[in-house]
């Protein structure tokens, strides 16, 4: 079997940090190859070296026998290596269709002059590319959204759009960086099948970086495991899954089996802290929220669950006043938030760790954290909270001086949560805290969330990992296409078959 892509002794050093320390592996032609490891292991950095974002400091990368390390990124794309990005990089202001069409640019035969004088050749070319792009969009069920602005798509659809754009390049090798992040288990299952279908249909070699173990184990034929820049295991999924080193560094002991329910704890009071009534939000002509009502009592952890696009993030944003609300009311601690600016919320005691992290890329980790405590005047309090943040996420303590934008995806997620806690909020809103987080750390994050709540912070949690969310929460709301379809205690919902129904996108039967 020949190798489509082969790395030998690839090393990438940033300042004093060896992000990748001499990694070698061969990706067989037409295989689905997994690259996994804990947060900050160097997986994305390997992708960046292969696709020319960085030139590796040492080592060789060969694509079908040709050396490609050090070539400019566009040239590598041109040769046939396409990728998606962990931190979604779409052309936000452009339409969904245009996003895909951009990647057709290299295959068009029309010259600049053809384009300027609009020759027949240009018109034919453009029409052919449009057909091809629409076909790809159809495959990902995005053809109905072709004219929509890319930035207005829900997270999961943005990920699919990135794959469609990558495929427009007619690649031989496709690198996917956490394509299942933000998808629930049913959606992830569909994605996993799609990856296989794509491989067969387009004759692709796929390299998959992913923290969703169901997807990795089902899709990959061979897996390479890294930790702190080094290789720790390599082999078939079944063997890798049992490898003691992988278990310790990455999967964690009780991986997804023993999620202890904490909802028996009854520290919640009857005092309603957040009261949302009949919230409606429109995006363009589309009704994103069709009248959401929910309440969160002081000391409670309430989960908001539902499929991709159900309106969970929109609900949080509407509460945080970062988007325009059409009608409805939000009361926090008895106060109507109408007319309150988004930035005033922090002072009132509401903090949010948004989806997609939104950290300050050009500030250091420390500065990012300090920005979170912007409303806190007492330097002693800030210092204590900094200590707490570092205890919660020791990795952040190691990286206080690193720029936020250069952190790995998982590290950014840690920073986002830690920053939200810096203001000492009464209400903490977490949007997908487990997104992009390695399995071992997911356990730790949920433990941390529970600790935070026990210390008296009320939490509103949006999470795709339903089982985890329901185990951590006291109560939950299930959203389906912008409406609350079900609500109740987490315990009841966890045992309610209709929740799975809502998740599978089959809708809830409300009788």
């Amino acid at each position: 079997m020949s190798a489509a892509l082969s790395l030998s002794g690839v090393e990438m050093v940033f300042g004093g940090l060896r992000a990748v320390g001499g990694v070698s592996f061969d990706v067989p032609e037409r295989s689905i190859f997994g690259l996994i490891g804990p947060n900050g292991a160097g997986k994305t950095t390997v992708f960046n070296c292969v696709t020319g974002v960085y030139a590796p400091t040492k080592g060789a990368i060969t694509f079908r026998g040709q050396r490609i390390d050090g070539l400019p990124a566009w040239k590598i794309a041109d040769l046939g290596i396409a990728r998606t990005f962990q931190n979604i990089r779409l052309f936000g202001q452009m339409s969904v269709l245009e996003n895909v069409l951009v990647a057709s640019h290299r295959v068009t035969r029309a010259s600049l002059l053809d384009a300027i004088v609009r020759t027949r050749r240009y018109a034919d070319d453009e029409a052919a590319m449009r057909r091809k792009a629409l076909d790809l969009l159809k495959f990902f069920e995005l053809d109905d959204n072709a004219d929509q602005r890319a930035s207005s798509l829900p997270y999961g659809d943005q990920r699919r759009l990135e794959i469609a754009r990558a495929l427009m390049l007619d690649p031989k090798v496709l690198l996917l960086d956490e394509p299942a992040a933000g998808l629930n288990s049913a959606e992830a299952k569909v994605l996993e099948q799609q990856i296989r279908t794509l491989r067969d249909r387009f004759d692709l070699t796929v390299v998959l970086v992913e923290h969703n173990m169901q997807v990795v184990m089902a899709a990959c034929e061979e897996i390479h495991v890294m930790d702190r820049g080094e290789t720790i295991a390599h082999g078939a999924p079944a063997a890798v899954q049992k490898d003691p080193k992988v278990l310790e560094a990455y999967l964690g002991a009780g991986h997804d089996n023993a999620i202890a329910a904490t909802h028996t704890d009854a520290s919640a009071t009857a005092d309603v802290l957040l009261d949302v009534k009949d919230l409606r939000v429109n995006y363009g002509g589309i009704q994103a929220l069709k009248g959401i009502s929910l309440e969160v009592r002081r000391g409670e952890l309430v989960a908001l669950i539902g499929a991709n696009g159900a309106g969970k993030t929109t609900t949080l944003k509407a509460i945080a006043r970062t988007l325009a609300v059409k009608s409805g009311s939000v009361r926090f601690a008895g106060r109507d938030l109408a007319g309150v600016e988004a930035h005033e919320l922090v002072t009132l005691g509401v903090a949010m760790a948004p989806e997609g992290r939104a950290i300050f890329p050009n500030l250091t980790v420390r500065e990012n954290l300090e920005m979170g405590a912007y409303t806190v005047d007492d330097p002693k309090v800030v210092a204590t909270r900094l200590d707490e943040a570092v205890t919660l996420f020791p990795r952040l303590g190691e990286r206080m001086k690193q720029l936020g934008g250069t952190l790995s995806g998982g590290e950014q997620q840690m920073l986002s949560i830690a920053r939200a806690l810096m203001s000492g909020p009464a209400l903490l809103m977490l949007d997908e805290p487990s997104l992009g987080i390695a399995p071992v750390l997911v356990d730790q994050i949920f433990e941390a969330i529970d600790r935070i709540r026990r210390k008296g912070t009320t939490i509103l949690l949006v999470e795709q990992n339903t089982r985890r969310a329901l185990a951590a929460a006291q109560r939950a709301y299930v959203l389906v296409t912008g409406e609350v379809a079900l609500s109740g205690t987490a315990e009841a919902l966890a045992n309610d078959p209709r929740v799975q129904g809502a998740y599978l996108g089959e809708g809830v039967h409300l009788d």
Binding site: A77, V102, I116
Partner: protein, 326 residues
């Protein structure tokens, strides 16, 4: 559309411009024609700069330099052609002057763009700022083309041959070239560069090459505007280096932002609006620039995205649609 039909369309537009020129002169006088000519020059400049600052998301603040290159290169060409082609076929001579002015500005665009567009960030702004000043100072110290005194337009010097139809014809060419480029696969690539350079590269777009391309096309169109400006037959007195100061670059930037970054029709409107408002404010004399600045502040507060945002004004949308009529 066939080539023949396009040429007929263009000829019809020129005929219309001739009619407008005569009509305006007869009804509103020479001064109105002059204002219309300035609107046309401004429109060209704004449409050109919008390609770089709006569509591609880069930041140039030295386009007056390219205008100066076009103006002086065009003027020198006419001067050299005056005894020969200029005497027998003044229109052909002006055409050659425009082509030479545009081409030289384009070459200057490549020379400025290649080193500065390779780097991300503010380098382009700094380099273009420096370039504009270097061009101006060089002209000032070069006596054969008038130095800091300027070079008169009219008999014996630069022929005053660019009438309103020439200037508006140039603006039409600018809109067509830049418009077709912007709304093509090339324009999409430029938009991708504006949105996310790393993703654009990963989509196979050689970003540096495309940025230089956009910058060169922009400089070329600006050079054409400069050449026409140098031959202004609607009352232009002379060209002088003082006309190509930083103020001019800032003015062009204002037109683009006023119209809406990324919108071609917006750039045209911005060019027209700046020309007209500066004329209307003339009677306030000393307070003119203060009022102008206040107007800009009010506009930015009321409509930060500019008049049209990044959308285009579509005349067809204003007319009753054919489908509805049927």
């Amino acid at each position: 559309m066939s080539t023949a039909r396009r040429l007929i369309g263009f000829a019809a537009a020129l005929a219309l411009f001739v009619a407008i020129e005569h009509g305006t002169r007869a009804t509103a006088g020479e001064y109105a024609v002059r204002v219309l000519a300035m609107c046309g020059i401004n429109a060209m400049l704004a449409v050109a700069l919008n390609l770089v600052n709006g569509t591609t998301g880069q930041f140039s603040i030295g386009h007056a330099g390219f205008m100066a290159v076009g103006a002086y290169a065009g003027a020198v060409t006419s001067h050299l052609l005056a005894p020969s082609l200029g005497a027998s076929h003044p229109a052909a001579s002006l055409l050659v002057a425009c082509v030479v002015g545009a081409a030289l500005a384009g070459v200057a665009g490549v020379a400025v763009g290649v080193p500065s567009l390779r780097l991300r960030g503010d380098y382009l702004a700094i380099v273009t700022l420096g370039f504009g000043e270097i061009i101006r100072v060089s002209i000032e110290s070069f006596a054969p083309i008038g130095g800091s005194q300027g070079w008169p337009i009219g008999a014996e010097s630069i022929p005053a041959t660019a009438t309103l139809p020439w200037i508006w014809g140039g603006a039409l060419v600018a809109v067509l070239v830049v418009g077709n480029l912007t709304y093509s696969s090339y324009g999409r690539a430029l938009g991708a560069i504006r949105e996310d350079e790393i993703a654009a590269e990963a989509a196979g777009i050689p970003t540096t090459r495309y940025k230089v391309l956009a910058f060169a096309v922009s400089a070329t169109v600006t050079g054409m505007a400069g050449a026409l400006y140098a031959h202004d037959a609607t009352g232009g007195q002379h060209i002088d280096p003082g006309a190509f100061r930083l103020d001019r670059s800032v003015d062009i930037l204002v037109m683009v932002i006023f119209g809406g970054l990324g919108s071609i029709t917006g750039a045209v409107l911005g060019g027209v609006a700046v020309a007209v408002s500066l004329e209307l404010l003339r009677e306030f004399q000393g307070y003119r620039l203060i009022i102008y600045a206040l107007l800009l502040i009010v506009l930015m507060l009321a409509r930060p995205q500019g008049l049209l945002g990044n959308r285009e004004l579509d005349l067809r949308r204003l007319l009753p649609s054919r489908k509805a009529a049927a």
